[in-house]
Subunit: 190 residues, 2 copies
DNA sequence: TCAATTAACATACGGAGCGTATGTGAAAGG
DNA sequence: CCTTTCACATACGCTCCGTATGTTAATTGA
């Protein structure tokens, strides 16, 4: 039943980290909410950052699955890529993802380039881009560089959208601008 | 001489926050390094976050000045805009800016949309974009949405470049990809 | 000129929180 | 049946933040 213990701790941590944030989350309160004490925590995760890393891994895995599903549902690679970008833009508006993945994560665990799973997420994008470059759909650009630019743009834009006075209008404006920028990547301008 | 006291505290804090980070910076060590005690700190800045905000204001003001200078040096608005994007990309590679402005800042002070001066930085970009749209250089897109996308893209790409095995090659790849994306914003594809 | 107020700090204190060291009970293994 | 190990709980010390309380010097006002 150690898996259940770990899962309940991660669940409680995810709730706390996603709402009040990493710094304000007390390990005593966290473990008490899971019906345990800090002893269990340090036994399974080493320290507070270890638990936080476990939460990040879980969320990142979920995001990868969701993005993969969106991409697989599309007709061709290019629209699949565009759709997953839009899906990421939408996901990055969720408060839990914003708080844990975009804000506290990098500050606590250091740059996301140490995180194995976020790299998966980007690697998936870069692979799709690589194919598009090989097929001649995209101009011959470095796939990872493009993926990083798009990743950052969507992340930041999503936070802007979430805080905008009119989120729906902001989402439309961001999507339009994003589409325009993506067009610049195409080999032949549509 | 209260300005000197404030300045020395901010300088010490900037050094500490920029190297070991906000969470690991002890206020006792900080103030001792400035030849003071925590009493001075809480008198002038209220709390730890207040001092951090003062540091962020200072750095953000410096960044705005630097970007404005780059933009003013250009021949036409469009190249001025492109140059300041490139300058921001270069600035975001500086460890102090990465740590304080990009990583710890949002986590500690909340989303940057509450920060007055970072908004200045973006507003400057948005104003330049607005002019370009009016002049017909750019497609009719929402300037702030474009500014947000570019801001996020450069931020993220800069961190990628800083951590890449070959930063120079990564910078070139990112610049190429970035130029391509910017081309998508133009009304008439070059 | 001198008392009184305020500003600019230093000092002292309480409380919260993290990490570790230690204890305990149950399960597994010989 | 004994022992070892695992999965926790308990207890402790340490650091650090924020506040409350001095203390000194400058300024004000009569």
């Amino acid at each position: 039943m150690i898996a259940a213990t770990r899962a309940s701790l991660i669940a409680a941590a995810r709730e706390a980290f996603g709402t009040i944030g990493y710094a304000a989350a007390s390990m005593d309160d966290l473990t008490a909410a899971a019906g345990l004490t800090r002893g269990a925590l340090y036994h399974h995760f080493g320290d507070k950052k270890g638990l936080f890393a476990a939460v990040i891994d879980q969320i990142d895995a979920e995001m990868t699955i969701r993005l993969r599903a969106v991409s697989a549902r599309a007709a061709d690679p290019w629209t699949g890529f565009r759709d997953s970008c839009a899906a990421y833009l939408a996901m990055a508006r969720e408060p839990e993802i914003q708080r844990i993945m975009l804000r506290d994560g990098p500050a606590v665990l250091g740059d996301p380039w140490g995180w194995p799973l976020q790299n998966d997420c980007i690697r998936m994008m870069a692979q799709g881009l690589n194919e598009l470059v090989r097929e001649g759909v995209l101009a011959p650009l470095d796939p990872e560089a493009v993926a990083r630019l798009i990743f950052g743009a969507t992340q930041h834009a999503a936070q802007w959208i979430a805080h905008a006075p009119d989120p729906e209008a902001a989402l439309r404006a961001a999507t339009d601008a994003f589409d325009a920028m993506l067009k610049g990547l195409l080999r032949k301008p549509a």
